[in-house]
Symmetry: C2
Subunit: 341 residues, 2 copies
């Protein structure tokens, strides 16, 4: 199966199915991490045809998505003296593709990169759309660039080695898109256990993202819906120093927080909230969470990239639609979040 994603400057293919041969006429720098490489690097290299292939390994984990990690990738690129005709290739989860995307965006003012995502989260979400970046002490993805890949190769076979916890976490991004953009997809997810419909489930999720991103590449309107749950998630991840929750887990908790706020504002009915919660529960994403310090949590919400006036909350409006609200006062928010305080 194949989708084509239209960006402002070019379109790129997202191929879903058995990994096919990847050919490049000049140098390729393959970047992977310490967990994925031992499992899948050889498979990838057996499919890669290029005159010169270099590899660079980064430490696994969101806590390594830092400038130091980018410097390491750039160092390997300069050592290999990659030119603007050469290619970086990311093999791994969202951390790897976000970092390789950012490194390739700023190396010699931008070279091409491609992605072979190996986690469910990266396959259904992170690998498509051109957002790249790193974290810093102020929060998540606060430094980065819009730099779309030139191709994404999604092979569900890579998921066979994915820890169950990570697989479930990836599911959160699928639910996210169903709730904000596509009621039919939500119903489909309710009635089709993902493990048995993996390729089609991924395809449908990528298709929604492709359509959204094509309409709003730079997140000025529609694309903001993809941030449902994320304003909260970023604060949750930061509070845990990017190591206690997987990104998808934080998004799942964040969606429930957004739902609580939407319920309070009359945007969401309780029955719908419960359906979303039930679907998350099916994948073990009905997770407990406690906001240790509301003031600090609130401060982190204020750092979100989407904010221009107040904190920008993406709230579901029933199933298949959303609103962006920047007019929330602190006390309303605190009341809505009482279950987590």
């Amino acid at each position: 199966m194949r989708l084509d994603i239209q960006t402002k400057d070019f379109s790129y293919p997202v191929c879903i199915g058995n990994l096919e041969q990847i050919t490049h006429a000049s140098k390729v720098l393959v970047v992977s991490d310490s967990i994925v490489a031992p499992l899948h690097l050889n498979t990838l290299l057996s499919k890669l045809k290029a005159p010169h292939i270099f590899t660079h390994m980064i430490s696994s984990g969101e806590e390594h998505k830092t400038w130091q990690g980018i410097e390491g990738i750039l160092e390997s690129a300069f050592q290999a003296n990659l030119s603007r005709k050469d290619l970086m290739l990311a093999l791994g989860g969202g951390v790897v593709s976000d970092m390789v995307g950012f490194a390739s965006a700023i190396y010699k003012r931008g070279i091409a990169f491609q992605i072979v995502p190996t986690t469910l989260l990266a396959q259904v979400d992170a690998s498509v759309g051109g957002k790249t970046g790193i974290n810093n002490k102020y929060g998540k993805n606060l430094i980065g660039a819009f730099h779309p890949p030139r191709a994404v190769h999604i092979d569900p076979l890579f998921l066979t080695t994915l820890p169950k916890r990570e697989f479930k976490a990836g599911m959160a991004e699928m639910v996210k898109k169903a709730v904000c953009f596509d009621k039919d997809y939500f119903k489909w997810l309710e009635s089709h256990p993902l493990e048995q419909h993996l390729e089609l489930g991924i395809y449908k999720s990528v298709a929604i993202k492709a359509s959204v991103v094509a309409q709003d590449e730079k997140e000025e309107g529609l694309r903001r819906g993809l941030n449902y749950g994320h304003t909260f998630a970023h604060a949750i991840e930061k509070a845990g120093a990017y190591s206690t929750h997987l990104h998808g887990e934080a998004v799942a908790i964040g969606m429930q927080m957004a739902n609580a706020l939407a319920l309070k504002l009359g945007l969401l009915e309780q029955a719908t909230q419960e359906r979303i919660q039930a679907l998350l529960k099916t994948y073990g994403l009905d997770l407990p969470y406690h906001i240790a310090d509301f003031e600090s949590f609130y401060k982190d919400l204020q750092m979100d990239k989407k904010n221009t006036k107040g904190i920008c909350f993406i709230l579901p409006k029933g199933l298949g639609a959303f609103v962006a609200r920047e007019d929330m006062d602190k006390s309303t928010l605190k009341e809505a979040l009482h279950a987590w305080l």
Copy 2:
């Protein structure tokens, strides 16, 4: 006088003349350096209307155009919690605008910036065209982004405090454009002492760059002519750790090297070479230089961003035209450069 520069995404004004009021509806972070700020920051602030104004100072000089400098700017931006609607404003020479441009390109995946250039070099060249970046141990501007400013405000009055050496260095970029793109402008420069025709001289130079950049924003063809002298200049600057030569001085030497190569290849007549040399001499840019270590110099040339196969040399083809050549062997180059060995 005003020129409008068309980029792929938007157009921006370059205003040449007395600095007019700059108005922004939200926060502005003004970035300047330790030499320019004491001279001109108050003038700028008196012309700037915005609800919240922050300032950040960087160390003056090309040797500070590093990631550490970018981190400092980003830190001030996060402290001020700039949103995507806010603005960075560069007041200074090319180092300041390159750094503010890059910082604004990657802050929250990109916010707007404007430039008030205070050196001749920045006014006629660096401030227009959208190239931003920093140096690293591998060379000059090797990390960066294409990120055009939203406006450039050129006031020749700022040049009254510019050291003579820097003024002359800026002239090199004007000669560069005349040689590669515009024979009439070359003749005009020969017959019009710049000090007495400053505003018009700047205007003509910016107009050439505007036209070139509009035709080839990402440097895939025509824009490469703007790199005349620069392949050599980057190696010269690196050899001097970015502190012995001003950028324009290195470019002037680099143009003479390119001319020697062009002469050897029959692209340039000796009489034309001498005219270019004479014009440079008028501005004290007929500078001596010695290549201390040819092997290391050659290695630095190989790191140039424009290279895809061999080293890419931009060579004048008479006056008003150029060719890009990647087929030069090492011995031909060494022979052409004998005067500097």
